[in-house]
Subunit: 195 residues, 2 copies
């Protein structure tokens, strides 16, 4: 962006990123109960003091982490070269089967029982959800002014979320590939007939 | 079934059912961390000793509870009078937005981090998943010998699971109703054209 930053600012930003990535990894592997600030600081190789400087509370750290990684993934998805719709459907579903989804899932489920997380995670989920929807509409070249198109795309993202959940305990890749191929076909037909 | 049971057996069965229902309620409201055997015994009004007689371990109690309630719901669904496919789609999605889904979700997520739960919940999820699929095929009068039909139905259940997750932190009813109406239309068209 041409903004000049000092070496100190660069180091601070790099530390912050290391913490955010460690937090997502920790959440994905150990769940909310196993994800303490100390565990993340140790995983990132950052002192406890520096960690608290960046993120005063556990809630700050983990909501920021899920948001940061979601934004990284969104940017990567937007940067993809233009592709046919079936490939786009597969790429969208892939967003829901990796460590980011696992981390987000642990955070959502924890938030359903922890009042201090609930408001923040609800707000985060709404923001990430809107952003995923915008990206999906763009990549699928879907015309939302046509009746039902918005809901077709939303249902596709709901299906992707459900496929992510089905992949939590076992490797569901083989079944998922077949489901995605079929629904990519149905979504393609539906969007083509409505454009 | 015409099997003669003694009053003692009847009482024992009633106690077991009370425990199972209390366990699902506890899991849905408080999550895995808040769901101890003592909390369930108290909620059900059953002594700790009687509870341990029925369910020697915490894992026994909660996996049995999710399975029991899933079976109750399946039976209720099978007992529905024959309906048009769009109504069936809505009824299937409803299965994933109530306390049973919340309880199962907490159990799945806990199992992803707790080795002693993992194998049992994986096996339970596979069994409940196959049963939901069978019921969906039957109610939708879907002909799985036709290419793609099996995957259409599976994707619909994956979408329902994703809608359940979207309903975890906020009441998603308004959005969900629109998505379900549109996907019911897509499923209806797809199944009609392939029969």
């Amino acid at each position: 962006m041409g903004v000049v930053t000092s070496p100190k600012q660069d180091r601070s930003r790099a530390t912050r990123q290391r913490l955010l990535e460690a937090a997502v990894g920790c959440l994905a592997e150990h769940g909310w109960a196993g994800s303490t600030v100390s565990a993340v600081a140790e995983r990132a190789g950052v002192s406890r003091g520096a960690t608290q400087h960046h993120f005063p509370t556990r809630e700050d750290l983990f909501t920021a982490a899920v948001e940061y990684v979601a934004e990284e993934r969104s940017s990567a998805l937007r940067a993809l070269p233009s592709q046919d719709r079936r490939t786009v459907v597969a790429a969208l579903v892939d967003l829901y089967t990796g460590p980011l989804f696992r981390a987000a899932l642990h955070l959502w489920v924890a938030a359903s029982n922890e009042p201090q997380l609930h408001a923040r995670v609800t707000e985060l989920e709404a923001r990430v959800g809107r952003e995923s929807h915008r990206i999906a509409v763009e990549l699928l070249r879907a015309d939302e002014s046509v009746d039902g198109v918005r809901e077709t795309v939303q249902g596709l993202l709901d299906m992707a979320r459900g496929l992510g959940l089905a992949n939590l305990l076992t490797d569901d890749t083989t079944r998922r590939d077949r489901v995605v191929a079929q629904w990519a076909r149905l979504v393609e037909e539906s969007l083509s007939s409505s454009s």
